[in-house]
């Protein structure tokens, strides 16, 4: 295997909770706790989990949109956490992000032309004359046209706005993209258009992607490997076909069985989890999933289970795994 493009080791992000008159730190939310994974060049890795699992925080911390509490992020062997401001800018040219909400992530006062040439100016790529051509080309890449350059975001539909968000991310020709729920806010018929676009871009531009989503169907469709997170920790990692057909961790099993199947009359043996996700302020001791786990035993409370290999590239963090 070649050297990974991105390597995340024991990543931690704790958010302080302040209280009292003096706004002293009274507690912490462990949003991401000891997360490690690699991404190979050209690979699309899915990061799935329910709300509060820390998946978005992982994405933001890798890009240094949040400062990590601990751990190590290496991009093309450079230590991302230690880059100074000038180096960070160079690094950001190589890593971009696509946001979930196409309504909130585009400046409403800027025309598409400005939205798309901004990153070029910031990173001093090309001349002003070239920018226009580049912007027009970007629009064509994402299925829009040059005529759209002088329009404002409000003149577009949700799906079109998401295409503009993708074009903006592509403007600086990044090698790596964090896509944070890029299709969740879109209607079904439009969602398929954007998924197809992302798949084409992945092939045409050889993009490496961290694809964050809660929709397991979408993730299976677009990703090569999947990371399942729960309460800030990794429960299972594996190649997509492997993990979806042979899920190992009880949480992955429950998650997959909870997905409604668009075929009437098929009643599956569903594992319906009891209760809600616990608060990340006081996560359960030992295995964080044990309070909802159908297989939990007394041992589960004692130690945090380590990721164990159960197949090629397939790891699961459950002490009951044999």
């Amino acid at each position: 295997m070649s050297a990974p493009l991105l390597s995340v080791t024991s990543l931690k992000k704790y958010f302080p909770i302040r209280g009292g008159v003096l706004q002293r730190e009274v507690n912490t939310v462990k949003a991401v706790d000891d997360v490690s994974f690699d991404i190979q060049p050209g690979e699309v890795v899915g990061l799935v989990g329910e709300s509060g699992s820390g998946k978005t925080t992982v994405g933001r911390t890798i890009l240094r949109l949040e400062q990590a509490t601990g751990g190590d992020v290496r991009f093309d062997s450079a230590d991302v956490m230690k880059l100074n401001a000038a180096d960070l800018r160079k690094y950001r040219k190589r890593m971009q992000i696509i946001f979930q909400d196409p309504y909130a992530s585009l400046n409403p006062r800027e025309k598409v032309r400005e939205i798309l040439t901004h990153p070029l100016k910031l990173h001093r790529i090309g001349t002003a004359r070239e920018h226009e051509d580049r912007a027009a080309k970007l629009l064509e890449t994402v299925g829009l046209s040059r005529d759209h350059l002088d329009r404002f975001p409000h003149e577009f539909s949700g799906g079109q706005r998401q295409r503009i968000g993708i074009a903006r991310a592509l403007a600086v020709e990044p090698e790596f993209i964090v896509a944070d729920e890029p299709v969740s806010a879109l209607d079904v018929s439009i969602q398929a258009q954007v998924i197809n676009l992302l798949e084409d871009l992945k092939t045409d531009l050889n993009l490496t992607m961290l694809f964050i989503a809660h929709d397991l169907g979408v993730v299976e469709h677009i990703c090569d490997r999947v990371i399942v997170m729960y309460l800030g920790r990794v429960m299972e990692i594996g190649p997509v076909a492997d993990l979806y057909t042979r899920p190992n961790h009880p949480y992955t099993k429950a998650l997959l069985s909870a997905v409604p199947i668009p075929k009437p009359g098929r009643r599956r043996d569903r594992v319906v989890l009891k209760g809600d996700i616990p608060s990340p302020i006081n996560p359960p001791s030992g295995c964080v999933f044990r309070t909802r786990c159908p297989m939990a035993t007394a041992d589960c409370a004692r130690q945090v289970p380590k990721l164990k290999a159960i197949g090629p590239g397939h790891l699961s963090a459950c002490i009951h795994t044999t």
Binding site: D187, V188, A192, I195, L216, Y244, V259, G265, G275
Partner: protein
């Protein structure tokens, strides 16, 4: 079965929104459907299809001064309800029609305990004592699976988790044993594991209490799990209506088939296929295309599709289609693993 009066009968419903003094749109345009006792009808559509407005029209909850039912009829147990006064509608809502919405935090009052809110409903509709109403509240919380209902009854909504609030909202909607429950995207904001809990709970309660459910959603997976019959809406109209098996097995309207083929299904990693996206976007109600409203996006459109608006026709018993070409089309279906 045929002669029986349906529990709810919506006939040629038109709902108009006056956007400005001169500009109005028809958010619901000639919609008809029936709901029989004890059955689950799903209304499916994308944003702007009119599915939520149709349900607000039934409940009499259209925004005042802007939206109004401008035509057609809605009959509940044979009684016309579009002409009722606000006071009369208040008697029906909660008592005969229960409602649950997407966001439990906006439908529960944050300054009253959950128990007070359920009890208030019961007292209002059934004229029972406060003690009896409180007992009913506890009983309902127990029914929807809230642990320790005797102490939870005194919780404020903010003291409950998201899933529990959703349960409390269902408890409130069902406290007076309505014959019909309208659920507008009740699981859309929830995580899949909580969604699975809710769907199981609603099916359970339906079996126990025998109410009919109108389930409004955009999620075809959820539809397949809970619906008996399905209404597909597009640009304010019904475009297809059939039993859940027929809708999924033999969709006849190209839009329905397109929706089916554009959802990424589990199993795609083993059996890689490209999604068939529907090109273009849903038209704005202010600038609807002539002829069939779906024709600019339809792969099967011909000249006649842009010329005349197709009527909703019965293909067979209980299967209605709005497409000029349905009889000659064979629609491709994505294989299901």
């Amino acid at each position: 079965m045929e002669a029986e009066t349906p529990l709810l009968e919506v006939q040629d419903l038109q709902t108009t929104f006056d956007l400005t003094k001169t500009l109005s749109i028809r958010a619901v345009d000639g919609v008809s459907f029936k709901v029989n006792a004890g059955e689950t009808l799903a209304i499916v559509g994308e944003s702007g299809s009119g599915k939520s407005v149709a349900s607000l029209s039934i409940m009499g909850l259209l925004p005042k001064d802007v939206g109004r039912v401008s035509g057609g009829s809605i009959k509940l147990n044979g009684r016309e309800i579009t002409t009722l006064s606000d006071a009369e509608m208040r008697e029906i809502r909660g008592k005969e029609i229960g409602m649950i919405f997407q966001e439990p935090m906006t439908s529960l009052n944050p300054v009253h305990t959950v128990g007070q809110q359920i009890a208030e409903m019961v007292i209002r509709h059934e004229k029972v004592t406060a003690a009896k109403a409180r007992a009913r509240a506890i009983e309902m919380l127990d029914l929807v699976g809230i642990p320790e209902p005797k102490s939870r009854v005194d919780n404020y909504p903010h003291e409950m988790s998201g899933g529990m609030r959703q349960r409390a909202m269902i408890a409130m909607a069902l406290a007076c044993e309505p014959r019909i429950l309208i659920a507008d995207e009740p699981t859309t904001a929830l995580d899949v594991t909580i969604q699975a809990q809710m769907l199981e709970l609603m099916q359970d309660l339906q079996k126990k209490l025998g109410m009919a459910i109108i389930f409004i959603t955009h999620d075809l997976g959820v539809v397949a799990e809970i619906a008996d019959r399905v209404v597909v809406m597009y640009a304010a109209q019904v475009v297809e209506m059939a039993s859940v098996e027929d809708i999924f097995e033999t969709p006849r309207m190209p839009y329905t088939a397109g929706l089916m083929n554009s959802i990424p299904r589990l199993g795609s990693s083993v059996n890689k296929i490209r999604l068939e996206a529907i090109p273009g976007t849903v038209p704005a109600l202010t600038s609807l295309p002539g002829g069939c409203r779906f024709h600019p996006r339809c792969a099967h459109a011909q000249a006649l599709c842009s010329a005349t608006e197709p009527a909703l026709e019965a293909a067979e018993e209980g299967h209605m289609i709005r497409c000029a070409r349905w009889a000659e089309l064979t629609l491709a279906k994505q294989p299901v693993s």
